[in-house]
């Protein structure tokens, strides 16, 4: 740093500090001097530079003040979505999606079990996911703040999370493929949620020997139809397109000019199948021989019509447009793309598609106008091995920009700039996609994967923040054992130069993509109306109001209608016999913000979260005689510890209230002779 810069830096920092303290300190001859002296002392003590202090002032968000943005981030192997406030970079919530989440009572007895069960596959009660790409619902290509979708790469699933209460409402399983990657990406009005396969395999999850890779293995582009009014994916109205067995990777939907199209890239067009033990090259080298792979261009509007016209075949209940039909009807075209590409991102104006070549130093910008002209004029450069028409690379692109080593994903600002993550170099490259010029690079720490910017993949990005999502953190945080946290780095892109503001450790999984939405677009509910079943969105038929509590026995089934309100459960005693099935219906009667109760039955793996108004239904078997306290697991009030009750499970054949049930040690001579009929025969409905 030269002297000039240093002086500018110091004076700028002093100015910032002076402004920060002008309000707090009384104005006097030594007022400002005193303030900056004490800050300087603090800076010395904590070894902070002026840049550090500036960054702190840029991001510090006092308690009680909301962040300007919310980042909704992939939780990676945790199978969840993370909600993070920005610019403060504070974790607000881990949303249970594919993995049980005990705090939210998600997957521990209540309705969340049913959502998770939607994602089970046969006998496999999947308890995790590899969450990759969360995508916010859009209206006219802009985030509307209503829903977020996310894919599970490991098991080819897509989840729907409602942002009115940040709860997962649906998991759909792709029955045709067993891994996905190009998802969950939405079309501009959330007509569809796109999910494309990753590793080719026989469609419908059938078996075929790997030697028949080229003939039997296939890729797939799934178009999940979203029913916004219901807030659910309509599986019956969803359809797919069969693709060649190139390893399809990331996808993006066109917008504005390119609305109606989807773009996805691929690698391993060599169709390498490994065989390391047999002395064959591993997939990593087999898949990296060609200089070009294929960008897939899909006309989904046309495909939608084909499906409506019945030009599809049904596999495992899904309407699939065959590869042959896709090639012949002109809904699938391929264009060369430089070596092992990764990112595939449409510019905010929808005119260009930016592809980063992982093993190429360029970002390539494809012109949608040129592609459209070639397609409309059927000016094909040839066909691939599966008869899919190909377009000439040079005739399709607008140009290429030398970015650096390992360009991956690209996001945008509102000034015509693109920000590309550069993996091998550990940097973010800022370049102008209008005049195709590299402007600046900033180092990040380390091995950046995805990148996000504020509303950066909408038709109107905000242009103030970028977040680098780094795979490695090496020396950035305090050590916590050999498994290191991931590192989210917030970068200020408002000024002429990018500035690194703050690092946020992610200690729950390896996040992939994330999106950043303006906080005021989220219309979040604060409480549920009393009795709401949050998984159906309706008042539960078993919702229990004050005064309606009861226990109804019918044979070996016991229905408990319970309410929870500070600081008691009604009923607080449940008396059953060993082997009875208990259907617990519990409603929180609370309606005050943040007044949550929990309900756990110990030794039964049951834990519910009862947010104000929420209703939950749990069915379990009292399989072992004993005394099981149940209690509220949220410190709800001063008498929280007293918010408890007992599940009393009598040994089989013991009448209720009978001291004989208590065992020989405490057998009392009197009071144990109550005939079973006295209290055992429960009132029936």
């Amino acid at each position: 740093m030269n002297k000039q810069h240093l002086l500018t830096g110091v004076s700028l920092a002093t100015a910032v500090i002076a402004v920060a303290f002008a309000c707090a300190k009384p104005k006097g001859p030594a007022g400002q001097l005193g303030a900056s002296a004490s800050v300087k002392e603090l800076m010395d003590k904590r070894k902070l530079t002026e840049a550090d202090v500036e960054a702190a002032l840029r991001t510090y968000t006092p308690g009680g003040r909301a962040d300007e943005y919310m980042i909704l981030a992939s939780g990676g192997q945790a199978g969840q979505i993370l909600a993070i406030g920005a610019p403060s970079m504070r974790l607000l919530k881990v949303i249970g999606v594919f993995t049980p989440e005990p705090w939210q009572g998600y997957g521990y007895g209540g309705g969340g079990n049913e959502i998770l069960a939607q994602g089970h596959q046969g006998d496999q009660k999947l308890g995790w996911a590899d969450v990759h790409h969360p995508n916010l619902s859009e209206t006219k290509g802009d985030y509307d703040g209503q829903f977020i979708f996310v894919n599970d790469k490991a098991n080819a699933r897509v989840a729907v999370v409602d942002l009115s209460d940040f709860a997962t409402k649906q998991i759909v399983v792709n029955p045709l493929v067993s891994s996905d990657h190009g998802g969950a990406f939405v079309t501009p009005n959330t007509e569809y949620v796109i999910e494309t396969s990753q590793y080719p395999a026989p469609l419908g999850r059938d078996y075929a020997p790997i030697e028949q890779y080229k003939e039997k293995y296939r890729g797939l582009a799934m178009f999940w139809k979203f029913d916004r009014a219901k807030g659910r994916i309509d599986q019956a109205a969803s359809w797919a397109i069969e693709l060649p067995p190139y390893t399809q990777d990331l996808a993006d939907a066109g917008k504005l000019d390119s609305d109606g199209f989807a773009f996805l890239n691929s690698f391993n067009t060599e169709m390498a199948i490994g065989g390391t033990l047999e002395g064959k090259p591993p997939i990593e080298s087999g898949a990296s021989q060609n200089d070009m792979d294929y960008l897939h261009v899909i006309d989904w509007r046309k495909a939608e019509k084909l499906v409506a016209d019945g030009k599809s075949t049904t596999i495992k209940g899904v309407k699939v447009i065959s590869l042959e039909t896709a090639a012949n009807e002109g809904i699938l075209h391929l264009i060369g793309e430089p070596k092992s590409p990764h990112g595939c991102d449409v510019t905010p104006d929808g005119k260009e598609i930016i592809v980063g070549g992982k093993l190429d130093t360029h970002a390539t910008s494809y012109s949608f106008e040129k592609i459209k002209k070639l397609i409309d004029g059927k000016q094909y450069s040839g066909k691939d091995a599966y008869g899919v028409p190909t377009l000439d690379f040079q005739q399709s692109i607008k140009g290429q920009v030398e970015i650096g080593l390992g360009p991956l994903h690209t996001v945008f600002d509102n000034k015509g700039n693109a920000y590309t993550s550069v993996f091998i170099e550990s940097a973010v490259a800022k370049w102008n996609y209008k005049d195709m010029k590299l402007l600046e690079k900033i180092p990040v720490h380390y091995n950046i994967g995805h990148i996000l910017s504020a509303e950066g993949d909408t038709v109107s990005p905000d242009g103030n923040y970028v977040v680098a999502m780094n795979k490695m953190s090496i020396d950035r945080f305090s050590p916590v054992g050999p498994l290191y946290p991931q590192d989210f780095q917030l970068i200020d892109i408002e000024g002429p130069k990018m500035r690194l503001l703050v690092d946020m450790p992610i200690g729950i999984g390896e996040p992939h993509y994330s999106q950043m939405i303006k906080m005021d677009k989220l219309k979040t509910r604060k409480v549920y109306p009393v009795g709401e079943n949050i998984y159906t969105g309706q008042k539960d038929p078993s919702a229990t109001l004050a005064g309606q509590e009861k226990i109804v026995r019918s044979g070996t089934t016991v229905d408990v209608y319970m309410t929870a309100i500070r600081s008691h459960f009604t009923p607080d005693r449940i008396d059953v016999e060993e082997g009875d099935t208990i259907n617990l219906h519990v409603t929180s009667l609370e309606q005050s913000e943040d007044q949550t109760h929990g309900l756990s039955f110990n030794l039964h793996n049951i834990d519910l979260s009862l947010e104000p108004g929420k209703h939950e239904n749990v069915t379990f078997v009292a399989s072992k005689a004993g005394v099981y306290p149940f209690y509220c697991t949220e410190f709800c009030s001063a008498l929280h510890l007293e918010m408890a009750g007992y599940l009393l499970v009598r040994p089989k054949g013991t009448p209720p209230g009978s001291a004989a049930a208590a065992g020989s040690a405490s057998a009392a001579p009197s009071g144990s002779a109550a005939p079973p009929a006295a209290s055992g025969a429960a009132p029936k409905k």
Binding site: V527, I565, R566, S567, E590, Q591, S592, A638, L639, E642
Partner: protein, 225 residues
Amino acid sequence: MLARLKLALDGFYEFLQRPLFLWSRPVLALLVIPIILATFKPLWHFDFEAPQYPKGLSFEVFSYKLESGHDGNDLREINILNHYIGMKKLDHVELDDLDWMPFGFGIVAILLLRVAAIGNVRALVDLCVIIFYFGAFSAGRFVYKLWSYGHHLAPDAPVKVEPFMPVIMGVKKIGNFTTYGRPVAGTYFFTAAVLGVVALTLVHLIVGRIQTRREAARREKAATA
């Protein structure tokens, strides 16, 4: 002596029969408006402040209902908190005065119109007495009800507190809560109507007395002449 008293009483009875000043009849009819407003506007407002309620809690008493902040949830919240000290529920069932209060206001309104129609002093004096009594009785019931809430605490309540007088006007600290009470629009409208009737009555009494004196003097003069 007796004759003098009789004379005075005759004068008073005669005064009671007198018609009201013409201008005061439309004024009486117009006083129905604040009574109607008092029926439908909140009468009393309570605020509760505590650290864990950054948005505060509040509720208002109307002649016929209770209404509380945050879509009615504040009253539910206040009741949940009050149950810890064994206080009875603040609701329409317990505060059954809300059943007859609006009828009281209605009767007052009808009586006002009656006086405006009949238009004599006797009816005005009746009205003055009734409206004053109605106001005082309602206020007394209100104070008694609050007292009763604070003094009839369930003996098995989880938290034992000394019986107390809840806030009516001004500020009172109860536990972690600072409570505030104040009259609002409805009470002001009703008070205005009461004061209007009282003022009209006074005007008639004073002017009537002056006129009676004058007439008596005139009669005396005529008698001596």
